[in-house]
Each structure stands twice: as structure tokens, then as C-alpha cells.
Amino acid sequence: MIRPPLPRWLALPAAFAAIFLAVPLVAMLVRVPWSRFPALLATSSSLDALWLSLRTCVASTAVCLVLGLPLAVVLSRSHGRLATAGRLLASLPMVLPPVVAGLALLVALGRRAWLGSRLSLLGVDLAFTTAAVVVAQTFVAMPYLVVTVEGALRSAQDDFDVVAATLGASPTTVLGRVTLPLAAPAIASGTALAFARALGEFGATLTFAGSLQGTTRTLPLEVYLVRETDTDAAIALSVVLVAIAVVLVAVTAVLGRRQQVRR
């Protein structure tokens, strides 16, 4: 079926938006000292940072999915005061400047803090460990997943869940076989958002987890540190972040396409 076309004039602001987003990225690529690139990347600190970033981002994205997806589903079906409060809570960390988010984590989960000291007694010591990086990334990234998925679930107009229930599907089955698969595009984009936010996360990590090579110094922190002495090198390392993002989005696109085909 031929869908009605989009208005032609829409191309103008869309193109302008695309150019606006593209120009700084292109400028950055032009600025990279490509000759020094391999050498920069091959330093142990860069490689450590890259590897740490990948590990922590995968971990924090997984935590975002495991915890954030349930929260999004519950919020999308809740009404009233508590639901509004929940939605509020889920989006607040986005608005905090990352450094403040890090401070908040520090005063909540730091060794001297109320909760942190109790966790310490249990032998759980987060501060300045890789786990702290994952906590910081999760805290700032989860809201993006929750808000995206919740919005999509709430605007879904269909009764497929009702149909599934009449076919004997338990709530868990409905969720797993109907609700979530139908929201797959939104979940994919929410996950990509969360991963991206975690990958670029810097202020909260620095403040809450510190910047120890191989343990808490992720790629953005490495970029930050390198910039103290060499702006161009910092830009070069950032390109690695961009490259990871490209791969990530490409994978999401392929998965999305596959989903599209099944429909």
C-alpha cells in the first residue's frame, strides 16, 4: 500500500537539522591528527579506557534493561499520583548536570554516606571500583530507556494484550510474547539511547567513581585527561567514541530492519 507522502516542505527543516548535526561532527573529523591516530590509540591508557568503556557500558545497559524496562512497563500502565511521581522520578536524573549527579551518588552511596556505610558493613564497597562506574552510568542512562519505552507503550492504541489474554496467555506471557515484541522498535531506540548516554557519560563517573586507569577511567574520562595537555589528541580519542556509536546505531538499524521485515 502506498502511504500518503510527506509534505515536501518538510525536507527543508529536516535537511537543516541534519546539516546542523553533521557540521560539528565533520569538522571534528577534519581536525583529527590522523597521522598520530594509531599511536594515540595504541597507548596502554587508551586501550584500557576503551576496553573499560565497552565493558561498563554493556553492563550498565544490561542493568538499565533489567530494571528500567519493568519500570517503564509499570509506569505506562499506572494512573494517578503515584504514577506521576514515578514518571517524575524516572526523568529527574536526566536534568541533573552530570557532576551534580555524581555528587548525589557520592552523598548517597559514598563510604561515609548513610546507605554507603551500611553497604560497606555488608562488605559491598562501591566507591572507586568499576562497579561504581556502572552505577554512575546506570543512574544517568536509565531514564532515557524508561522515558522512551514508557512513551511508546502508552501511545500504543491496540488491544493485542486483551486478545492474548483471551487466548489464555498469562500476564507474563502477554508481556513477553506480545507487549514487548510489539514495542521492539521503541525498546531498541531506548536501549541505544541508554547505551549512548552511558558511553558518553563523564561527569558523574569522574565525581562518583574517580579516574583510575583500568578501573574507573573510561574513554570520556581519558579524553578529558588528555585534553589537559593536548586538545587534538582529545578530539582524536573522541572519534573512537563516535566510531563505537556508529557501530551501535548500525546494529540497531539492522535489527530494526529485520523486525520491520517480519511484520
Binding site: 486483551v162 486478545v163 492474548a164 489474554a165 483471551t166 500476564p171 510474547r177 510489539l182 517480519r262
Partner: protein, 352 residues
């Protein structure tokens, strides 16, 4: 036991329904648009909370004003007007959904799904996506999907809607066969559905159950305007004999055998005779009509422009709609002996 008992009101919809569906019987639900048919089905499916009263299946109270047992625990399949096939699953997986949800292995579920698809003549579509079906195909697949879950109660909300005559007839046969002995509620606007598929009818109007009873009785003696409008068919029961239906008194009724539910030799069957097709003669006529049955007028009932004449034909009832001029011209009254004449091509013979 899966007797369905509804005695529930939904205040916001102006609906207060009281109805019992005996275990194993198929109840047709008829009534004008907005009368509450879908509401009734939703009450049984647990998709609506009664503001008063209760819904019971067997000994279990499934809904009352305080508690509503969840839909998925009711084993109540609901086939909606829209087929609502899952867009992210293939036709096969759509049909395999209920068995899978009930815990069947993937293989067993698919096997069952293929069987159900075959039952509705859609086995060739198993690999398609839902949006690749035409409206009629989708509806047939939806029926297969609803039946694949072996539900205790089957709810069907105008399942024939959107099917062409051929496909509808085929499905009618399938439903008659598959629903037999299964507690079901079938919303329909078609008289034919009522008397080929259902045992009982409930007539709903203005949010109330106006009348309910055996399908045969209500179709023979429709007491509501709506039922009459449905076109109550008179049914004569008998046994298949040489392609005709043999009545208890040995007389034969000729007609066309239904393709989906043909009459079989020596097996019980029905002749469906539309009252307007029956003409009354004082003498047995010559000519093309092959069915001329001696009858005694039992009662006369004016219905708008026509008069419904109820006849006794060998201890069975037959209705004839004739104009009041005919009644006057022939001097008919209770006790008159007449010949009920009906053309063979207007009689349809069904195996039961």
C-alpha cells in the same frame, strides 16, 4: 461443567443482563446494534466489571462487583469482530499462540496450529504475515486461533462478518461441527447462523435479555419483532432417505442438501423452510412445487402486512406467511384443513 450464568449490570452502559447458557450448548445472541451483545461477551470474558451482580462458569463465580477473575485464567476464547491477528507473528505462530500459552512445546503447538489452519482451509497461508491476508482470510485464521486453545467457553462476536457467502457457509459448517457440545455464545445477525450452529437463542434489546429459549422453538415462534425480522425458519425434523427428508409420518420433504452439512442416508436431519415460501392451497396443486403437505391451521397471527399461519404438519409445526387477502379469500381459521405447498428449491436440507 461449564454452565455460564450471567446476572450482571453495567450501569455506565445502561445494561442489565440475565442469562444462563447450559453446559455444552451453543447460545446464539441476537439483537440490534448497541443493544449490549458485545457487552455481554465482555462480561463473560472478564473484560468488563459488573457494577452489580455476577458472572459464573460452572460452580465458580468469575466476576462480581468486587472481584473479577483475570481473563487468561477463564479459558474463555473471544473472537472479536476484527480478527486482530498479531502483526509480529506469522499466521502459524498466531494460531500456535494459545497452545504455547497453555504450555505446549513449540512442536506440539505448531502441529496443533497446522491442524486448526487446515480446519479453516488456510493451511497454505501458514507462513504469511498477518498483514498479507485479505479480510476474509484473516478472519478464518482468527477463528482457527480461537479454537486452538481448547477453551471452556467460546465467545464469538459476529465471526462471519466480512466473509463472502461461500466462505461463510464453509465456516458455518466448521463452527457447527467444532462448537457442538462446547459452551459457546455466538453473536450474529444471521438467522442461518442461529439455527445451523446454535442450540439456544437469546434476544437482547436495550441492554436487557428479552427472551431466551431453544433455537428451534424461538425460530418457529418468534415472539419478538427482532426475531421475526431475523427471518425465523421453520424446521421440520426427520431422517435422510433417498436424498429427501423423511418425516415421522413417512412423508418426504424434498429440498436442496446443504453442501457444508449435507443430509446423510438414515441419519437425522432438518428441513429449513422459510415461512414466506409456504403457500396454502385448499386442493393439492399440480405444477412445479414438489412438496405438498396436508396440514391443519392452528393459529393465525397478523404481523404487519402479512399473516403468519401456524400449521400442524404431522405433529410438527410449520409456519406460512401469507397476505391477509389470501386468508380472507380462502376463509382460513383455526382447524381449517389445507395443503402447505413449498417448492423444493426453497427448502434446504441439513444433516445434524
Amino acid at each position: 461443567m461449564s454452565t455460564v450464568l450471567v446476572d450482571a449490570a453495567v450501569a455506565s452502559r445502561g445494561v442489565a443482563l440475565e442469562l444462563a447458557v447450559p453446559s455444552g450448548s451453543v447460545m446464539a445472541v441476537v439483537g440490534p446494534n448497541g443493544s449490549g451483545k458485545t457487552t455481554l461477551l465482555h462480561l463473560v470474558a472478564g473484560l468488563l466489571r459488573p457494577t452489580e451482580g455476577l458472572v459464573r462458569v460452572g460452580d465458580l463465580v468469575l466476576s462480581d462487583a468486587r472481584r473479577v477473575a483475570p481473563t487468561h485464567r477463564r479459558r474463555v476464547a473471544l473472537l472479536t469482530q476484527r480478527s486482530a491477528l498479531f502483526p509480529h507473528l506469522s499466521v502459524l505462530d498466531n494460531v500456535a499462540f494459545a497452545p504455547r500459552a497453555a504450555g505446549a512445546t513449540r512442536e506440539a503447538a505448531r502441529e496443533r496450529a497446522v491442524a486448526e489452519l487446515t480446519g479453516v482451509g488456510c493451511e497454505a497461508l501458514a507462513g504469511r504475515a498477518a498483514h498479507e491476508l485479505s479480510g476474509g482470510q484473516a478472519q478464518r485464521v482468527a477463528i482457527a486461533r480461537a479454537l486452538a486453545g481448547d477453551p471452556r467457553v467460546v465467545l464469538l462476536d459476529e465471526p462471519m462478518v466480512g466473509l463472502d457467502i461461500g466462505a461463510a457457509a464453509e465456516l458455518r459448517g466448521i463452527l457447527a461441527d467444532r462448537l457442538r457440545g462446547r459452551t459457546s455464545l455466538l453473536v450474529t445477525h444471521e438467522a442461518l447462523d442461529v439455527w445451523t450452529i446454535a442450540d439456544r437463542v437469546a434476544v437482547i434489546g436495550g441492554g436487557r435479555v428479552l427472551e431466551t429459549g431453544p433455537a428451534d422453538d424461538l425460530l418457529v415462534r418468534p415472539t419478538s419483532h427482532f426475531l421475526a425480522q431475523l427471518g425465523g425458519l421453520t424446521l421440520l425434523a426427520g431422517v435422510g432417505r433417498g436424498g429427501d427428508l423423511e418425516l415421522a409420518d413417512g412423508r418426504h420433504v424434498q429440498g436442496l442438501s446443504d453442501e457444508a452439512q449435507p443430509l446423510h442416508e438414515g441419519r437425522p436431519g432438518l428441513a429449513g423452510i422459510p415461512p414466506e415460501a409456504v403457500s396454502l392451497h385448499l386442493e393439492p396443486p399440480g405444477g412445479s412445487p414438489r412438496n405438498a403437505l396436508p396440514a391443519v391451521v392452528q393459529s393465525l397471527e397478523p404481523r404487519g402486512p402479512v399473516v403468519r399461519v401456524l400449521l400442524d404438519v404431522g405433529e410438527q409445526r410449520l409456519a406460512a406467511d401469507v397476505t391477509s387477502q389470501s386468508v380472507a379469500g380462502m376463509g382460513l381459521g383455526p382447524g381449517s384443513a389445507v395443503w402447505a405447498v413449498v417448492k423444493a428449491v426453497q427448502v434446504r436440507l441439513y444433516g445434524r
